[in-house]
């Protein structure tokens, strides 16, 4: 792959993971919900869009909408227990839920083509949108643009929400349920909406992923993916949308660049894969120990200037 093409590839991955990072950040950084099963949205979106397009014969965009909806519904479902579960219990439950989702896709090969096609063997030949229209040598740049657009949409949407009164309540919930409850806020409803919206966009990322790589299997959606997205959120700065994207870029770049290490260091690719994971694990630990704010601090909402404008009415 030419260097430019490779950079485009990295860009696409950064974009897709950027959406995952933004959405996880919305859950943890803004609402304080610890979700260890984020990969489930990714999986559901990917499979959802794939099935809609391949089995249902729908257009790619419909597939994406389907991914969006499935992600949103799952988000609402797993938010149900947040009312009466402590955060660490809920985190464990989300981990279990994501595994159940993955096991479903491993075992239920009937969803597409029978036991030797789907299930643990995955689904191949997922169509790339407009691939018959756009020439192959520029296709990757087209897809890069596509992903960038969706990343931008996700960023703008979530960023906008964080600055509304809705986002304000989420920020309060982040620090504890008691105060918002005492102020009359229906905390469960806010948490459910937070999970629903972020889940929907995360599902979208899954759809974008599936149509890019054209082959998905349950192995793409193991719990490790959730860890990687956590590393991105944590490195970039919790509670900060730009940070989430920055974190995605940093971790993804690190991930991709280490691939070249084996040309310089006598290390085989399998070991290299493990070393990468060690580094990511260490990264999470180090950030938690020494740098909990991450790269970009959360922005403070200032009102002094807004007030001046208001009182001049």
């Amino acid at each position: 792959m030419g260097i430019v093409n490779y950079l485009a590839h990295i860009g696409i991955m950064i974009g897709i993971y950027g959406i995952l990072s933004l959405t996880l950040n919305f859950q943890y950084g803004f609402t304080g919900l610890v979700n260890f099963g984020h990969v489930a949205f990714f999986a559901l979106g990917a499979y959802g869009s794939t099935l809609l397009v391949m089995s249902g014969g729908t257009h790619f965009l419909v597939g994406l909408i389907g991914a969006f909806i499935i992600g949103g519904i799952f988000g609402l479902i797993i938010s149900l227990p947040t009312g009466n579960l402590k955060e660490d219990y809920w985190a464990i439950a989300t981990l279990a839920a994501a595994e159940i989702v993955r096991l479903f896709f491993v075992n239920e090969g009937w969803i597409y083509g029978g036991p030797y096609v789907a299930g643990p063997f995955g689904i191949r030949g997922i169509p790339s949108p407009w691939s018959n229209v756009i020439p192959t040598d520029v296709y990757i740049f087209f897809y890069l643009g596509l992903v960038a657009i969706f990343l931008l949409i996700t960023y703008l949407f979530l960023n906008f929400l964080s600055n509304t009164p809705f986002g304000r309540v989420l920020k309060a919930i982040r620090e504890g349920d008691d105060l918002p409850k005492a102020l009359g806020k229906n905390v469960f409803s806010f948490k459910a909406r937070s999970m629903g919206i972020s889940g929907a966009f995360a599902g979208l990322a899954g759809g974008l992923f599936a149509h890019y790589v054209s082959f998905i299997s349950p192995y793409n959606f193991q719990a490790i993916e959730t860890f990687i997205v956590w590393a991105m959120v944590v490195v970039g700065g919790i509670g900060n949308n730009r940070g989430a994207i920055a974190g995605a870029a940093i971790v993804q770049l690190f991930y991709s660049s280490t691939r070249f290490l084996k040309d310089y260091v006598p290390i085989d690719s399998k070991t290299l894969a493990s070393v990468r994971m060690i580094a990511i694990g260490l990264l999470i630990v180090l950030v938690m120990l020494f740098w909990q704010e991450g790269l970009i601090k959360e922005k403070k909402s200032e009102y002094k200037n807004k007030l001046k404008r208001v009182s001049h009415d």
């Binding site: 509304t164 009164p165 309060a172 409850k181 403070k300 009102y303 007030l307 009415d313």
Partner: protein, 262 residues
């Protein structure tokens, strides 16, 4: 307390146990509308527990009693529902959101914000902007009243203990409830600030006729503010009366002496 038509909050035969520990054992209380009612008692007598039960953070024991607010039965409701009914409370240890500013705290507190609906955020931006501006104005006024104006954009976590108490009061004023329940509003607050606080509460009662129900340890505060005081001891009503009556009641003095010192 005979004029039941004027009773804003009535607590009847409330029990609350935590496993084998009986924190409240058949407590009765009435808070008159427009009054400033006090609740005192030695440490561990169940005052905060009662507050928690009334505001829905704890569920009362089954099979006994009920709580009525403006005629509606509120025991068994969620805290947010009870807050909606018109009761707001402060916490003994001031809940201050560390990463939100003072102004944000106040804006958070107002009720019925259209901006809390995602639909409205996208499809009714004008409504949102106008409401925000109104809230900002109101919040600013309240900030002036509680003298936290200069700290408007400061993180609430950076405030001193006394300032956090003022902030809690400020939030309450934003929410504008019928009944304000304050859990030790002057604890940890320096004397000057305390006087300011008392003045604010008294002035507000005069101007708006709202009702206050407060837990206090300082008899000075009780005497200067309260119309009527209830005394709890070991989860039961010990006595009740005007501050003067209660202060000179021997049973009360004994309770404080034999229990832990206040």
């Amino acid at each position: 307390m005979t004029d039941t038509n004027n009773t804003l909050l009535s607590v009847t035969d409330i029990h609350k146990s935590f496993g084998k520990l009986k924190a409240l054992n058949g407590v009765d209380m009435e808070v008159e509308a427009g009054s400033i009612t006090g609740l005192i008692g030695p440490n561990g007598s169940g005052k905060t527990t009662l507050f928690n039960v009334v505001t829905g953070f704890y569920k009362k024991d089954r099979g006994h009693g009920k709580i009525l607010f403006q005629g509606t039965q509120i025991d068994g409701m969620d805290p947010s529902q009870i807050a909606d009914e018109g009761i707001q409370r402060t916490f003994q240890i001031s809940q201050a959101t560390r990463k939100m500013t003072v102004m944000e705290n106040l804006l958070l507190a107002s009720k019925q914000q259209p901006g809390e609906s995602i639909f409205n955020s996208f499809f009714r931006p004008r409504l949102l902007i106008n409401t925000e501006q109104d809230q900002l104005r109101k919040a600013h006024e309240i900030l002036e009243t509680i003298q936290l104006e200069d700290l408007m954009d400061e993180f609430a976590g950076n405030l001193s203990g006394g300032q956090k108490k003022l902030l809690a009061l400020g939030r309450m004023l934003m929410a504008d409830p019928e009944l304000m329940m304050l859990d030790e509003p002057t604890a940890g607050v320096n004397p000057t600030l305390t006087n300011d606080l008392l003045e604010i509460i008294q002035k507000l009662r005069q101007d708006t006729g709202k009702t206050y129900f407060l837990i206090e340890h300082s008899m000075k505060v009780i005497s200067s503010l309260c119309d009527y005081v209830y005394v709890l001891d070991f989860g039961e009503n010990l006595t009740a009366g005007t501050p003067e009556e209660v202060q000179s009641d021997e049973k009360v003095l004994e309770a404080y002496l034999t229990g832990q010192t206040s």
